[in-house]
Structure formats: C-alpha cells, structure tokens
Symmetry: C2
Subunit: 153 residues, 2 copies
DNA sequence: AGATTAAATGATATGTTATAACGTTTCCTA
DNA sequence: TAGGAAACGTTATAACATATCATTTAATCT
C-alpha cells in the first residue's frame, strides 16, 4: 500500500514527464483527495485545503486545479455525484481508460473497478443497436457498499 | 406511434388508478418533455411551460412536479446531466425497472434501452467482488448519437 | 542578474441547479 | 358546506460552476 506522499511523488514525476507541473496548490488538492479516500465536492475540497494546509483557495482556482488534475488523469470527476475522486491507478502504470466507478449512495465511498471486456462488448452491441455509441467507458454506477448495507438494514 | 395527447391520457389513467392526480400543471410539464423528445433541465422546462402554455411556474413548483412525476415513474431524472426525461414506457404496460439511459453528450438526446439480463449478471458479479451491490439498474451512459457522430466528424 | 513571456493564481461577479420554510389556494369528502 | 389534505406560490438561500479580467509566479533567454 502506497503512502499518500509516495503517490504524490509519483504523480509529480508523471506531470514532469508530460511537461506539466504539480504545484503546491495542486498537491494540496490531490493530497486531500487521497487522504479522504472518498469523493469530495469542490467546496468540500476548499474546506479541506483550508484546514489541512492553511491554503484558502477561491472556487475559481479549485475548479481550475480539478480540471488540471483531470486532464492529467490523476483525478476523476463523478458527474452523478458532482464530486471528485483521486484516480486509484496513479502508481500502477496509470492505465485508467476503462475504469468504472461504484459510488455508494449513502456514504459516497467510491471504488474504481474494471469490468470485463466481454461485458463492455455486450453493452456496446446493445448501445449500437439503439443508434448510439459509447462516449467513454468510464461508467458511474450508483451502488450501496457492504458497510452501509449492514448498518441500514 | 402514440401521440403526445394519447400518452398523457394514459398517464392520467395511470395516476387515477394509483389514487393520485395528474393536474394541469403536471400535464404541462409532462407534455413539454414528451414533445421535446430529449432531456431538459428544470429551468428549461420552466421556459417551455411559459412559452407553450403561458404557465409561469416557480422553481419550487417545478421541482415538486418533477418529483411527483418521478415517483409515478412517468419521468426519470438523469443525474449525470442534471436533466429530466419522459419515461418511454408510459403506455406499454409501464415496466421500467431495468432501464438504461443512453445520453448523447452533444445534443442531449436520450434513448431508454434495456440491456440483457446476462450483462446485468456479469456486472453484478464484478460489483459484488468489489464489496458493493447495485442500488438500481437504471444506469446512465454517456454516449454520442449517430446523428451527432456524423455532423461532428 | 534583469528583461521577457507564459503559466498559474486571485478577485469579482454571475449563472445554474436545487431546496428549506412558510403561506395560500384548490379540491375532495364526510 | 365545513374541514382537512393536497397542490401550489413566495421568498430566501444553499450548492455547484464558470466568465472575465487582473495579478503573481516561474521558466527562459540574453
């Protein structure tokens, strides 16, 4: 299990190799997401950065930073929840083209999984018949996590 | 192909049989959604009702009406797009438990499809292994429709 | 080092989506 | 037709997001 610092270091190298910079403010946002282990809204992240790093970011900057981190594929936007989550593949060669996000509708916990290619192929067939095709394979799926399933029943 | 009026009539009977009422304002919203054939935001629906029916609804009422129509399963909320769409199964015995929504990220066109049970089963297995289970089988999938695929390439 | 330029960030305002709290109207039914 | 519930309106505000323009910071070149 990588520590947050190790992941951030890795992310910094990832950016450097792409000619971009993981600035301190960007690191603060990424660290906040990594430490929380769940999806956070832009405004929750503003609060986190203020508390943890005494870094009061305006909303504009936060959205810019989240946009940057998304483009670097270090963070994913979950549009179902209007929240943001750290990519779980930052260190492991960073292949996240075909990730799916399971989002607990109770506690917001997020798990990034990969469904089988055959399932994707099945889906694509259904979608193709309907006159559409996939824009991305980064699905978001509303779920209930085992923890919440126990406590809410 | 049912006309909008026929579908609204059917919806009215559906409500009556459940002891609820499809009021004029609720009909206006449903008609607007049916006629547009795509997903609309609450505020776009306010504009539609104002233009088509000279019925100026406040936001509070619109959200209440959308909530009512959702509970009656006449309308679905698309949380990825923050928009609302008429159920495509209002007339045909109205079974929409296992519907999936293909949303064109360019033109907002929405198609309600049903993926195969085997695909659902595959998905459930993957999700179960990750310590989650499905909250609903009403997935939302970001797509590009064939029309937009032609014009944007 | 100092000038130049591009990237990053800040400030301000506003747009968009959604809900809370409370008051009024409408409509069904006893 | 009185009473109560459902529907709807008013007002205010919360939560999420972006547009525009100004300023600061950092890399680069001489």
């Amino acid at each position: 299990m990588d520590s947050v610092s190790q992941i951030v270091d890795h992310a910094e190298q990832h950016c450097a190799s792409r000619g971009t910079r993981l600035t301190n403010k960007r690191k603060h946002v990424l660290r906040s997401l990594l430490r929380s282990g769940k999806a956070l809204s832009a405004y929750e992240l503003i609060d986190e950065c203020k508390i943890r790093f005494e870094n009061t970011l305006p909303a504009t900057s936060m959205y810019r930073i989240l946009d940057f981190l998304s483009k670097e594929r270090l963070v994913h936007r979950l549009s179902m929840a209007n929240k943001y989550v750290a990519c779980s593949h930052i260190t492991c060669d960073h292949e996240c083209e075909a990730s799916q996000f399971l989002i607990c509708i109770h506690c917001q916990k997020v798990k990034e999984v990969r469904i089988s290619q055959s399932t994707v192929t099945d889906l694509q067939a259904t979608i193709g018949h309907a006159g559409f095709h996939l824009a991305t394979t980064q699905f978001e799926i509303n779920c209930i996590c085992d923890g919440c399933a126990l406590t809410t029943t």
